[in-house]
Amino acid sequence: MNLFITSAYAQDQAPGAPEAGVNAPAVAPESPDLGHGAADATHAEVGHEAAGEHGGAFPPFDPTYFGSQILWLVLTFGFFYWILSKKILPRLGGILEVRSDRIAADLGEAERMRAETDAAVAAYEQALAEAKKKAGAIAQDTRDKVKSDLDARRGAIEAELSTKLTAAEARIADIKAKALAEVEEIATETTEAIVSALIGQSSRDEAAAAVSSVRKA
């Protein structure tokens, strides 16, 4: 549709503007693709207006304003390049760099803290193990001491008891011997008394001999 219009432009300008004529061939070859719609009132009107204003060339190919466009492009783009390369991009790059540095530093700090934590945990576990060992040693020590103390005291008491026992046994033996010695005398006396009562007379020596002979038997 547009290109159809451009062909209209081309026709319009053909007699008039020579420099626009240079442009016409560039546009014209495209017109056949577009077919040939009937030139209605709108297009004619458009063609007229455009022709009146700018000599009728298809605007993007119209060299009338090439100079102006180049100049203003150079000025605006030049300024854009200048302000970006001098002000904005260094600032933007700086922001990104500061952030990545900060992240790297934070990661390093986190790593360092983790190592510190690990060391603290290891130290704690070592201290705990040592304390356990020490506590075990102390308990063992105490146990040994108590045991030896107990043993000593028990030994002393047992020794004391055994001496007392020995003394008691000695006394018993003594008493027994004494008693046995007296038994002979009593038996002799009793024998003498019994014999004298039976036969009216008795001899002490005979009685003693009889007793000792019985005892020996």
Binding site: N2, A50, E53, F61, Y65, S68, Q69, F77, F80, L89
Partner: protein
């Protein structure tokens, strides 16, 4: 006139300036170049003024565009290419903002004029050529003679390489210009159908629904194209700069 899809590309003088017979008037195109630069630079300056460690939304957007262009440049031209970062970033932002401004109704699309895109393409190719010779001297011409090509076909390949190099500014500028021009014309044509049909009574009103839907869809597409063409212009710039930095293929 309201339905004329070409009228939006018409340049009109706002301030008549003429130097030595050369028309250097301040036109609506100039106005929108100034607006593009003011908008882009103003946005970037405002967005980064806080220098916040935790970025605001605007600062985040500015950082995003910085990193987007930086990674594009670095991946195609290597870290050596970062010396051209201000140029590439300026080109990307200028083209992108100019394209997006063109999407606002009644705004002039700076990049819909071939002379503007051609100047930008010449800037790129000029930079590539000047830097290539400055950096590598005549070795830069090695760009046209690829390694590992059998001797008999070298002249043919070299001729093709030269032609492809010379056609770069044309393809670079025409791609951007034609996309902007065609997109805006199509949009205007479909929008024009809506206006024409609704003026034709109830039947026309019903018939206008389809072109209206097309207009809505095309508007979305044009926003995509506005970004995509800025990106394509940028990535091609990066690839050409890579040739200047490493001409040995």
């Amino acid at each position: 006139m309201a339905n004329d899809p070409i009228h939006q590309f018409q340049i009109s003088k706002l301030l008549d300036i003429s130097v030595g017979g050369l028309d250097l008037s301040f036109t609506n195109s100039s106005l929108f170049m100034v607006a593009t630069v003011a908008g882009a630079a103003g946005f970037l300056a405002l967005a980064t003024s806080g220098r916040a460690l935790i970025p605001t939304r605007m600062q985040s957007l500015a950082e995003l565009s910085y990193e987007f262009v930086a990674s594009t440049l670095r991946s195609s031209a290597g870290s050596e290419g970062m010396k051209f970062f201000p140029l590439v970033f300026s080109l990307f932002m200028f083209v992108l903002v100019a394209n997006l401004f063109g999407m606002i109704p009644f705004f002039f699309t700076v990049t819909s004029h071939i002379i503007v895109t051609f100047c930008l393409a010449l800037l790129v190719i000029g930079t590539v050529t000047v830097y290539g010779f400055y950096r590598h001297g005549f070795h830069f011409l090695g760009l046209f003679v690829p390694h590992g090509v059998p001797a008999p076909v070298v002249p043919l390949v070299t001729a093709i390489e030269v032609i492809s190099f010379l056609s770069r500014p044309i393809s670079l500028s025409v791609r951007l210009f034609a996309n902007m021009l065609a997109g805006h014309i199509t949009l205007k044509v479909f929008a024009g159908f809506v206006a024409t049909l609704t003026g034709m009574g109830a039947l026309g009103f019903a018939g206008a629904i389809l072109p209206l839907a097309m207009t809505v869809a095309l508007t979305a597409l044009e926003f995509l194209v506005a970004f995509l063409q800025a990106y394509v212009f940028t990535i091609l710039t990066c690839m050409y700069l890579n040739d200047a930095l490493h001409p040995g293929h």
